[in-house]
Symmetry: D2
């Protein structure tokens, strides 16, 4: 395969995305070149787009966003043997070093030398072509659409949350936040055997979507606060980053229950209900991305245990990435916006 | 409530079950008296019936069999407050001491002072009435039939197996044996998120039932042995006790996979493929009954994640317990036989 | 044995302890009557003494304090068979129900029906005699002094902290607070294989004691704050309840490290460094008393892996309980004060 | 550094070791060149020497044995930055791929693409120089001798065994086999908090060494079989591979106890006491090498928690590797034989 040019959408500063033509990426020995098909828009993409930074990660040179990616292998490095040209793949967008202590312990999501798509200065996938080590491309079975392939990434976040919380058979799970991650957390909790799954959010449309995806209860926290009668829960999957809601939710956990922090709030610190946490021996655990989730994500999606396509509410072509990045803010009920690349715009 | 008489079916020796009238059980302070409705016939009941013993447990005085039990609360001890008279309940048939080291560690199934139904010299539930501590009676929700209430006991075995094996999202599970326990193990594995579930048995009818209950593959091991191409699996749930099949199955586990031994074979010792187990760091774990499963079992059944009624192939009245105990041997394709008590015979 | 009278020291209100004569406790069927020998003074005793309450636990009727107890069996209930009269014992001071969900799961420290010494309205052990279920009396080997027997209780807190934090071979552990609990946490961490154990406190005497007990480093946080160069640590055992110190300490944890909250601060809420906890996937876990620690505590003490007698700085007789309760406040360098009962005062 | 020649001792066939001069290894980008100091003789080296194979691993071309290695960095690849020239290091002798599923899960000891010293066709360290990726060389603190650096490898086996068995505070541990691995398992169990550690072997000298290293009991199984009175134990660390002894030892485990299989017997299969394992829910786990142990091993040895030098009974120079490989067989009481390279022969 030879590709003369690689069209990308690069962020030059807040709300300044420009279409550019770059060289097609050079392939390392075991890299594959992937012609991109679907790229999901993540809240972090939107945050970079709005503010030009997330915390200490600052966009100092033009950055290609997008890290929820599926595509087709169109070329291979000289020692890449895992995927044939033509293979549809989903990309795990962070390639860790494989050698440090975190990697050796299987916690590669905490590798400090990871190269993660769309995290400065590593470019992401709002592009015609991206290259990645073949071990981080996963063959997509026919059951999965291109969009579903891209959404394996947020699905991985949901899997990781459930794993960290030990969600299992017969569990009662509270999921705060019913955006894409919250919706996926609901689905994964159900797939893991949870039988009571309550979704809490301020947006009725999102709550309705959570109910479609397996939530057995919904609480509109714009109308009323959580109360003890809403509980108890075995696990809290916190997907909002909202401080007060998180505290209220932790108080609903049963003795020895677990709270998993997925959502990120604006502050470096937050207040927690420490007396309740001590009296009930609550476990609180932070999460950062995920590890060893892609094979599981594919298995769940291919078996129909989770519904990824049902989260997608809008498509935009690569040429309209800025519209895609603004869509969610303009309509908060939109769950997931996907940028379709190398295909007919808007038809998915 | 006063009940003049308690009809029971007592085993006096191999193949010698006699209907007898005994006194209605006296109630301890926190006991409930339960009018029995459904009692499942377990392989252990059949073994006692055929041989008068199981290993070192010998029937030396008339023993009432039956430990898979549902019924209705009809009386309460003076300090029993948990269930109202009239409440439908399922019984967890083993009451541990609550004080020994095993109990304190939460492993109460290993309590050596447990009083377990139908284990000499403790009588079981082929009877009109049984008494039990109120904490071992679990309220049955309306969604569950009497039969389903009784089958929470073998369902508990399946839950325990999956828990011991750590079955979870996206797992590939091999279940050897497709009798009632194997069928339930298949169902629980599916409910826990397993996406590949292969059932292996010598009986085609049973394999077909496993497929109905969620098995994604079936191997008739009367026709061919397991081969490496059948694997790899993350977890083996072994429900046969067959030595050669177990060894073959263990060899199909992935590195660091787990084998859970549920089925019991005839011998005190068995051969295992130790070289493979060491090279791949396989974990092998024995199981004995279950602990902390009933609330989960009820949640799963009430949510429709498992199907218990679908396992029941025949009913007999209390007066025909001996027929019930012989039915499985006469027709190995029967999955579960239930003795219906205090209701119209054969109509369930 | 017959004992005419039971001298106790009862708290009637803040700073109002009175010596009283009560009846010797009646024995339940499996209770033992224990002639008390050593009772350690705990911070919670002091708090009740000073304030008449701890949070929602209010002293509304005269309360006997003291829950760190050793003594000698002098009588037995009719079915108590575990200990002979004359047996020296340490008492696990909380007797749980043994039947609830927490008890059945092995988390009996979270049993809401627990009867715990010196927690209103349950009397403690500043008394000549106490009664307890025989399974909560542990035979003291000859290697252990009466004082050591009493200090198995705070040792249990240290064991529980290390267990919750998963302290193990080669771990780097930060212990904030070098009071009795902090000192014991240091000792247990060392016994569990930790090789770097840094103690942080505001009191130089206490830091020196920690160093004697195995701390490999000491930080006087009255002189300087913790800095990144002090870390990283695998586990934090937080024994102060001080909000700012806890936050600083959490920031020193390695990725996927654990913080165990043992110390209790004044507030219901506290601020935590959530951004760091998420980015590094820190686990934070609350603790409440302990479960299944006494056999381990005895084994560690009898084997000389921990030094309990070395923590005891002062003795008072039962008649001077109020002095014992005030001693720590008057001299913050005192680690542990013990009330000696039924023996020569002040000679221990 | 330039080194004209690399003297190695290569195994050409059973009992046929020849001194040869080879080229000094070429360095990969991040490799270090290590001048070897100490190489421990392992049972696997002896087995290759005697038989020319271990199971399916066959010596088909001349193979340099030796995988317990310490030395000094004398050269570095162009991108190796971790160790300065002159740094004393111990080598973790297996370099895994870092990308496969096992590696990503932190189970890199099960990586099928691992390059492990002295495992055909990968050469080991009975040589003047070896090369290895810098991340698999660990800086040796001054407290550790060259011999101790080499013995971090078998120490890792002991650490891994204890980790797999969950050995912890107050545990009662049975270690079958008192050779080097058994002795190290005893030491590590003690360092991890075990308070009862019984060593069982057929050799009185080895049992005496185990007692010196922390065993609290010794059983000469050439004189008598294990009996129930020897137990119960929480964990069995099986370091013999002897089938009958293993079965006897498993029977001594408490309910829910764990047996860790370290020793390898001659057969592909072995008999286990399955009825006892099921009735008591014993966990049996195979082990293969180790993962993530070197940092811990160094910390334990540097802190004096384990004694490595005390295991070394004899030294031989590189030129006498064949004598070193025969020494153990000629005197079974020898625990560990070390080949000293690049230093004065026999003086260590």
């Amino acid at each position: 395969m030879t590709a003369a040019a690689n069209l990308v959408a690069a962020l030059h500063g807040p709300r300044d995305v420009r279409l550019e033509t770059r060289a097609v990426p050079q392939l390392g020995e075991r890299d594959v070149l992937v012609e991109v098909r679907s790229v999901g828009v993540c809240g972090s993409d939107v945050h970079y787009y709005e503010h030009g930074r997330i915390g200490s990660f600052v966009v100092e040179q033009p950055l290609v966003l997008g890290h929820e990616v599926s595509g087709v292998v169109v070329d291979r490095g000289p020692r890449a043997v895992k995927h044939a040209v033509g293979q549809r793949v989903a990309l795990e967008p962070g390639v860790p070093c494989g050698r440090c202590s975190e990697c050796r312990h299987g916690r590669y999501n905490l590798c400090t030398d990871v190269r993660f798509f769309a995290t400065p200065p590593i470019d992401g996938a709002f592009a015609r072509y991206v290259a990645i080590h073949e071990d981080y491309a996963f063959a997509l079975p026919d059951e999965l659409s291109d969009d579903a392939g891209a959404l394996l990434e947020p699905l991985s976040v949901g899997i990781w949350a459930c794993r960290k919380g030990g969600v299992g058979l017969g569990d009662r799970v509270l999921v705060t936040g019913a955006g894409p991650i919250g919706n996926l957390a609901v689905q994964v909790a159900r797939a893991a055997g949870a039988t009571t799954i309550v979704s809490a959010d301020v947006n009725r449309d999102r709550l309705a979507r959570a109910a479609e995806h397996g939530a057995t209860g919904a609480i509109d926290v714009s109308e009323r606060a959580l109360t003890p009668d809403d509980g108890p829960f075995d696990v809290l999957l916190e997907c909002t980053g909202a401080e007060a809601l998180t505290s209220d939710a932790i108080r609903l956990l049963r003795p020895a229950g677990s709270a998993v922090l997925v959502g990120m709030g604006p502050g470096l610190e937050a207040r927690f209900p420490i007396a309740a946490m001590q009296a009930r021996e609550i476990t609180l655990v932070g999460t950062f991305r995920y590890a060893n989730t892609y094979a599981v994500a594919i298995a769940l999606a291919a078996a129909g245990r989770v519904d990824l396509d049902g989260l997608v509410d809008a498509h935009f072509p690569l040429e309209e990435v800025d519209l895609a990045l603004r869509a969610g803010r303009e309509n908060p009920s939109l769950l997931k916006v996907v940028v379709g690349v190398n295909r007919n715009p808007r038809t998915g």
